[in-house]
Symmetry: C2
Subunit: 442 residues, 2 copies
């Protein structure tokens, strides 16, 4: 019941439709018009939250009272409204490209219109973060990644979403406790500089930490002098029971050089099983450089730049009316011409060459349809999954799609997305609708 | 009660402190180390949410159970924990610069540590957005701005925060209904392209809208052909009662040229009181260009780029231990050396020249201290304010500070922030602490 979590224009339009009994089924298509320049692909995310939103959709009495106060309009037509429509969607974790619908909503016009703001918000945000995290995964080339972004995401809920989206993209864990709990993720956490500062000296801090957390002692070594810190960590670690895993976290300076020196000192001290964790302003580019240079880093803690998708914090996503009562529609605004009609995406097995097709075209041989029906008559269909299972399923899907993704789309610097061909039938439909719009007196 | 909305390392450190009875009062200072290159100033925001978080801080039984499950640690020392400390802060809406504390928390060490993640998250996000919105205000040079960002912020809560932060920066309204309700803002909303498409033709759509919302008819004219749309809007508007305000929204194409042609056609039709609203991917730079060119645009609808602070979606914010039990502390990490001790910021009246000082230095003549005590013994002090009053107060403060801000700091392209001088006493303290750290065997 969060009907007012929407833009006012959705309310106005819905009221106008309802007053005029314009209740025909409408299909809106949610897609990204163009990828950010640096992106060769996106990773679908946000669907689970969309479905929760739709199931709960409606206006409380307090919301209706607020709406009436704000607008001065009679909003009683909105009382008792629920979402009773259908949703077809690309599952979370799938790789997607520009122009491919992530979601298609078919419902009585007012309903389908009212949910626009929330669906766009959830899908845009989470898909952007998942795509950024996926780039970090590509850069890490098999080494572990942990989400450290909670302190600088756009609010606490965005921290939850960043932990989840990065888990879908293959991160091994998160620092955010609430997200680890809710989504069944591994929680990761060491110490801050303040911990070292709170003790009389660094050695005392490391000894206290080792005593209190013998099963997970990772020492942050750069509070004062990094290599002195490494030596202190080694001294303390060597006095710990031999089978306990220890680690060293490097959080500043030249991570490449420091990781080599640290590895050598750890190995020389017989701590060959110890791990080196690197953090501090990392993103896919710095990770790729460290990996390419062979830096002996076992785990990358990735924070802000992933958590806000720093170079592309938003996507050019839209929610467009593509069909009204069986009549395909499109707009002709300058630079924003769309393709009308309900759609499907066909993905060939083993070949990077998607096809954007009409929703009811026959699936070509050796192709898989990406959109499936996930809500019918306003209710989720399919087996009930826990939050943890949803994330695990999405992560598995992304792992499979990542193997399918060609090198030119995975490229981190100058990627070329997979080409999405428009099917002959959809192309003909677009031409037909465009011509009829241009010929009629609008 | 959202104790688990934190990073795991805060929990580990707090447990370690509590087990060892390290309960001395600690002061952490929250500040931005360096401004993003394009920023000449920041606008403090997020404090209200921080205070709500601190008042409610603690761990529910469910959170403790989850923590124990996740960490395998005995977390009973956290049961019953509350925030009982003091907070000194810069009020929302004030202009701030790098190195100036936005917040200083003084509390028993474990408490002050545990709240780090949440406070950093809230202040960083909202301050970043308020600063971006402030740049739009500068660019608009007195014309109205409206927040249209809800559809692409980082989650629904970020949409609330963007509406609030932009209101603090001086936006005249928001499209987001829930935020208008909660924060007492003007709600703004017209129609989408889908509305026009839902009718047999554009004229029918405009007529329906005018009939349903005679008091606020803004016509979106670019669904098919913009200037034809303008003519249709004029036809419909001229048949409306003469005293009703009407408007035209331009959402694509060359906004400068279109706004001139639109204005001329509206005026020629006698609709001189009508307003032109521009939207579509606007930010401070495109607004500044349109204003400089004299485009007759009355209202700018600003969405995504403001709502995610697209060119600087995060700030280099930190929460640093600066004092423990009366002993000033600092770290020496490469490139991240801090200034120890509790602080105050003195701002001279009428002159752009802040002073970063020790917290107990005497206020110099004609200077104002920016940090005031807002929480004592864990409780908010000062008069109770409604959500709407908090926003209005902050907006008034920003308006005053904007008048104080020199042109070089307001510059949108290559700004130079106001210089922040470190007081002699604070400088001497930093030298003293650094020397004692470097001389002792750490």
């Amino acid at each position: 019941m969060s009907g007012n979590r929407t833009d006012l224009y959705e309310i106005r339009m819905a009221l106008s439709y309802l007053r005029r009994d314009m209740c025909a089924p409408a299909t809106f298509s949610l897609f990204v018009r163009a990828l950010p320049q640096s992106r060769g692909f996106l990773v679908a995310a946000g669907l689970a939250d969309c479905l929760s939103f739709l199931e709960d959709f409606g206006f409380t009495d307090a919301e209706l009272a607020a709406l009436e106060r704000i607008t001065g309009l009679d909003v009683t037509p909105l009382a008792g409204l629920r979402f009773t429509g259908e949703v077809r969607a690309v599952e979370e974790g799938r790789v997607v490209f520009a122009g491919e619908p992530l979601l298609e909503v078919t419902a009585p016009l007012a309903q389908a219109q009212l949910v626009e703001t929330a669906l766009l918000n959830l899908v845009t945000h989470q898909t952007a973060i998942a795509a950024k995290a996926a780039r970090c995964r590509i850069a890490a080339a098999g080494r572990d990644l942990v989400d450290f972004s909670a302190r600088r995401t756009h609010g606490p809920d965005a921290a939850m979403a960043a932990a989840r989206a990065s888990a879908i993209a293959g991160f091994a864990g998160t620092s955010y406790v609430a997200a680890a709990d809710r989504y069944g993720l591994a929680a990761s956490g060491t110490m801050a500089h303040s911990y070292v500062q709170a003790f009389p000296d660094e050695r005392a801090a490391f000894e206290a930490f080792a005593a209190d957390f013998p099963a997970s002692s990772v020492f942050l070594v750069d509070t004062y002098d990094t290599l002195t810190g490494v030596d202190r960590a080694i001294e303390v670690a060597r006095r710990m029971p031999a089978h306990q895993p220890v680690g060293v976290r490097l959080d500043s300076g030249d991570l490449h050089t420091l990781s080599w020196v640290t590895r050598k000192r750890l190995d020389d001290a017989g701590l060959t099983g110890s791990r080196i964790i690197a953090s501090g302003g990392l993103d896919e580019h710095s990770i790729a450089r460290l990996v390419a240079a062979g830096a002996p880093i076992d785990v990358f803690g990735v924070g802000t730049r992933m958590g806000v998708s720093s170079d592309a914090p938003a996507l050019d996503s839209v929610y467009k009316l593509v069909d009204l009562d069986g009549r395909p529609t499109m707009k002709l605004s300058a630079g924003k011409v769309g393709i009308p009609g309900r759609k499907q995406v066909f993905r060939p097995t083993g070949r990077p060459a998607d096809v954007l097709a009409a929703h009811d075209e026959e699936v070509p041989r050796d192709h898989e349809p990406l959109l499936t029906t996930v809500v019918r008559d306003g209710r989720r269909i399919g087996p009930l999954r826990t939050e943890a299972e949803l994330v695990q399923d999405a992560r598995d899907r992304f792992t499979a799609d990542l193997a399918w993704l060609p090198a030119h789309a995975r490229d981190l610097v100058d990627p070329t997305p997979v080409r999405v061909r428009v099917s002959d039938r959809l192309h003909a439909l677009a031409e037909h609708v465009r011509r009829s719009l241009c010929s009629q007196p609008i």
